[in-house]
Symmetry: D2
Subunit: 436 residues, 4 copies
């Protein structure tokens, strides 16, 4: 950077410090409060960028205790004024005219939001706010009184990370390393064993797409990994083998979504998954006209837990005997391995129990299993339940190696989604039907 510029920027910071009478001996915890006060109270927004920059720098130097203290400070110091609210609320009770409503709305909007909007002006401000929320979330359980702050952050980020602002990008071996290393870090379903594994999963017979937000450079928000194959894949291990031969994508007829990972803890609760899948399907149709089927090969994260804790009494008669036998056979407390499962010929029994779990075990008229809930909610069809489809330790542990294909039938997606949302209806294939 040019000397003149450095001088310029430093002088701005110095002036800021000067005007703020920031005593260099003040603790960072005190300084950051002072800066926040200043950022909000200062008439005009003239030095917002510089102040925001300093707040971000200072925050990075806070220890855990100071961080927590900072959250409490922001939560309270920039809360809306209860007296003003009460006055405005009374006025509305008397006369709910547009002016009194406007005043009430204004009095109830928390100054915290404006604080964050101003911090956001600084370089990397958005990234800072996302990580701030991620930090805050680690305290919420023990400090539920911070939830007002959480609500504000959630509200802001929800508005800023509107799907309309997201950009879909294909990820492949031409992608900058700074992005690729983040895939390795964020992959949540089938861990990468290293760069070699990553390279194979980005080869010609695979696709990987991610959503990005313009203000979070080089940071994927969510990404999906796709394998291009012939027929509906029933085993995930071939997709994870970095020595697997590379197929010709132009001969494939099916795209298998075999991993979807959310990347940003600070965006918890914001769901991009169905937007991503739909746009990726659109991209694949456009790029590869031979692809006719779109399906997942998905884990069943809740199956074994459910099986272990299952009350057989709630089961339909036909399953009762199977269930108690099966469960007796499995040593839920010891370590189960794939060979055991093969040996014990539990195949049919477990598949039937799994079908029951996926289709009939519900909470508030929605499937218990989170992955089922997601795909069925998107309008997918429960197509097939696959025996010994994921023989990794994690796969056996979660669902005794069973995986599911959810099929995305392009033309019926909306109709299925409607039926699911309005009547809780789950669309299943004949094969699954026959297991029930």
């Amino acid at each position: 950077m040019h000397m003149g510029l450095t001088y310029f920027l430093h002088s701005i910071a110095d002036k800021g410090r000067d005007m703020l009478s920031l005593n260099p001996s003040t603790t960072p915890g005190e300084s950051i409060k002072s800066l926040c006060n200043d950022l909000l109270s200062r008439k005009g927004e003239a030095s917002g960028v510089a102040l925001g920059r300093e707040i971000i720098t200072l925050y990075a130097s806070l220890d855990d205790l100071q961080q927590l203290e900072f959250f409490y400070f922001v939560n309270e110091a920039f809360a809306p004024d209860p007296e003003q609210i009460c006055a405005a609320a009374s006025a509305v009770c008397n006369d709910a005219g547009p002016d009194s409503l406007k005043r009430l709305a204004r009095s109830i909007e928390s100054p915290r939001q404006e604080l964050f909007r101003r911090i956001n002006m600084a370089p990397d401000g958005t990234s800072f706010i996302v990580s701030l929320r991620s930090d805050l979330n680690t305290y919420l359980d023990e400090h539920p009184d911070l939830c007002a702050l959480e609500t504000d952050l959630q509200h802001l980020l929800n508005s800023w990370f509107n799907r309309g602002f997201l950009v879909l990008k294909r990820i492949d071996w031409h992608t900058p390393a700074i992005v690729l290393e983040k895939l390795i870090a964020y992959e949540a379903v089938h861990e990468f064993s290293g760069w070699k594994d990553l390279r194979r999963r980005l080869a010609d017979d695979r696709r990987c797409f991610a959503f990005f937000h313009p203000a979070l450079q080089d940071e994927p928000l969510i990404f999906v990994q796709v394998a291009l194959v012939k027929g509906l894949a029933d085993r995930v291990q071939p997709f994870l083998d970095h020595n697997a031969p590379i197929c010709d994508p132009n001969t494939a007829d099916t795209a298998i979504f075999y991993s979807i990972s959310n990347c940003q803890k600070g965006l918890r609760g914001k769901t991009f998954g169905h937007f991503l899948l739909k746009q990726v399907i659109t991209e694949l149709i456009s790029e590869l006209p031979t692809i006719k089927y779109f399906a997942t090969l998905s884990p069943i994260p809740g199956f074994r837990r459910w099986l272990k804790g299952m009350e057989t009494t709630n089961l339909p008669k036909a399953l009762k005997t199977i269930a108690s036998d099966t469960i007796r056979t499995i040593d839920f407390n010891g370590q189960i391995n794939a060979q055991d499962l093969k040996d014990k010929k539990l195949n049919q029994e477990l598949l039937r129990l799994c079908a029951h779990y996926l289709v009939h075990c519900k909470h508030k008229n929605r499937p218990l299993d989170p992955v089922a809930r997601f795909h069925l909610g998107n309008g997918a069809r429960l197509e097939r339940i696959n025996w010994l489809a994921d023989t990794s330790e994690k796969g056996i542990h979660q669902s005794l190696g069973i995986m599911v294909n959810y099929v995305y039938p392009i033309i019926k997606l909306e109709r299925n989604h409607e039926a699911f949302v309005n009547k809780g209806k789950i669309i299943i294939s004949r094969a699954v039907q026959s297991l029930l």
Copy 2:
């Protein structure tokens, strides 16, 4: 676009229409309401993108009356529920605990905002919302009851067009024509006479920078034109002459900001100007270390109007005689031309009156003149008042040809800004001081 894809998208739209029971014979005004209802009421956000797209398409086909009707519909149908607000307000009056506050906040947030957040998901959604607000603003004077809708749009756009999301880009002859033609359309200070003029103003001894928002592709929000010269420029015509010889930018010591234009009516009230100037100064320092001075050559849009309507009684004694003589000499109702001004030797008199206007004529402790208010508010110094600096018809009409240099003194900007904001203090040069 591939056939499969076209089919896919059409089928989605068809399904949508199907499910919505959109009767093709329905008027667009009715259909768009129906779609909005659907977009908001539908559980899940599954078909938000498709619905948003249709709303955008339909809106384009509305005539003026239908447009107005649509605004009223959105304003009322998606207003917050007054009964809920009252109930929540009463609850807060009784007990302002976090839960009741949260409920009140939720009840008062207008569903209109959520409607627009969902429309924003569609392609070009942001651009649509910006133009919607631009349309709405043409009705507000005659339909003040739409102001609640305006407040919501303003709130949303204010949040989305946060300075942290803006991207500065240099504009030159390498810029795509689709952007350049917008400069021609949006230039608000010194009109472009055509592509030849544009080309000259983007030559090597000029700079042009604009802010863009990632969701408004190819659409500048605001741009500034800079001339690189030796010494403080006192005439604007040389900058507008497309035959003017091109100077070597490396020999320049001064950057003259000679035009700043806002581009988006739909972002009215959102001020990006001072952010732009500061970042452009930073860029220029970095690119051209020989540039030592940053100044404007600015119009004085309110001067002639003030002069014409001036009550001499309010003037300081020293100016009273001058003023009445001067004013008598000028035929405010006829057309004034540059030659007249030269002939009449009004030089000193007008400069003194202008200095008085800029420095002493205030409203709420801020300069009356909007351009002065802007630059002085940014911390600039009123440096020089230039006689016959803009001899164009517009220049003579607005300010009898007078223009002003505001100097941006890098190191003192913040201090000046503070003095201005807190005490209404205007920083002026000795030269201007001597005119007072």
Copy 3:
């Protein structure tokens, strides 16, 4: 540019000047010779870039006479040494072994080529060499002894502008203005009337593609303009009307190539046209699957000239009478206009004569008409001859308003090309056949 850097570069140039003992009072003509000597003789290539840069700068300051003198200097001073060649040639006559052949080859390669290879290292070196050849070509007629230099330049540029190095780019309204203004300058078939015309010709129902060379930034080598229409277009005026309504490209079934222009005089003789057309066809097939036909709407630049100078005696009997009548009717020395042509009902006669001209008038077994030669040589079929297809002054002047459709039948292109090249066979449609 940073001061240190400027100093660095100047110091290099100064050193260079120093070492070369370039007397500042020397004429540019002398200096440039001195620099060329130095660039070639200097052991190592250490300062090649700096010397090349100076040669380029100096050349720009030469007047016509100095330019010519410079060409003679390079032609002679860096010619291969005839004595060495003779010695090497004798040696080869005695014994044509690999060593003597190698020596001969080395002795005959002109040092001029190495000179240009070294100049090419400087920034914009390639662009300089292209324009050098363009300059040289203006002298060749009167100075045929410069043809050795021309041969060398042609050889080098032929190698450097190999089709494998060219990059196809789509040109549209998103293209930088610096490229677009060159289209306006280079368009050779249907002149652009201005930016408005250009903008229309780059709209959604048009395509424009150009070849670029990586070393000639922002400089198209050749470009083609395409209109997407339904059916085979028979009139060019609608393509040149900037108020013509824009059609939906997805409903088009035919791509009409209505203008191809070479841009670089310095690359005269290098033919990129057939490469361009083939790759553009490939692009269009990929982008717009509904496009089934690829055809031109082409001028017949030699028709009127041929008609005027035609010896009717050479015509087949059937045409003789027609021809003499027709020719008598047309006032070749006066100005012909479209209305005259309509009035005189020369329609059929002229079309028959034109068909004869295109198909039967040959030189060395190739069509006389250059445009016919080009397209038929590429394997296109002479499809249709259109009456009053170009009613512009130029169109009437060149070919009495007649234009031709050459159709590019994707699958038969190679076969047609073979037949044309090997046997001079021209593929024509039945419609044209019936005119003969």
Copy 4:
């Protein structure tokens, strides 16, 4: 790829095969010859791209023997015609006029060159030709009669890889993985231990730059690694430690070039090194004005070999005793390690011998050591000889752990280079002088 397109391309290939009467049962070795004949003999260049593509594909399937056979075929079948050459040579001997010279030049240019120019038109043609030359070079020692082919390839590539066509790019962690993995593969001086090592060497206190050629996408030709430090670095191990702390580049005053690697065997003999270093220095001056010194930390690849084979009789008297003692102490046949060297206190003795080796041991008036020859030839100064500077196994093996700093004194580079080239003069520092 779209079906229509696939069909189009296949049909072209089929036609090609058809016309060439390529019998599918023919061996690839026969087919490729046939295609080459066709590519060259075919009038017009109409199907050059398709034929080139097939040649490239077929070549990839050749085994070693077929490859060699192919080289012999090209070497002989497309050699210039000796009879024509002799006839043209005789003509020149009789009369060396421009026409006879031109004919001779034409007769002597090998058709092989035209063959390669046509192959180059196909996609990835340039890359193919580079790798072809790399393959050819493995045969040259045993098949010296292929040297005519080698000469042609060298000539072509020399012309195409002119420095004017190269593009300098900065390499960092934002660079695509496909390029980064090539750095790992090509690094020739200090091997990368993996991606972690690579990442550290691309951190903020390092710079890496490479030259690319537009036709060889994602393929660096040569790259250099730079460390930004304070003072002249005397040890390389800290640069190779991926846990080393990252310094602030803005506080550095010295750029150390610690590794330069050529990447393309097929471009053997083409030297880009000095161009790269000069341009990188220019870049660094521009980016980091605090950097004042540019130097290398270089190996001395020939030192130990020289030491081992040294005839002490040739040494100056003062070194004779030192040398024989030292050499006796070192066990050149066993493995030497850093500790031994420390223990034996050979420090001063070895440094003096090394200085002697670098400065006085020459061949044809140039330093024996290739790295010294390169940097001194570029105009660098032999600044310092560092004891135990590279304690890796390779470092000890090559030069007993000694490394050298060559300093690039910006302003004197050209002068030093001249002195070196013209008089063989080596510029050395006082420190080195005192060792001699």
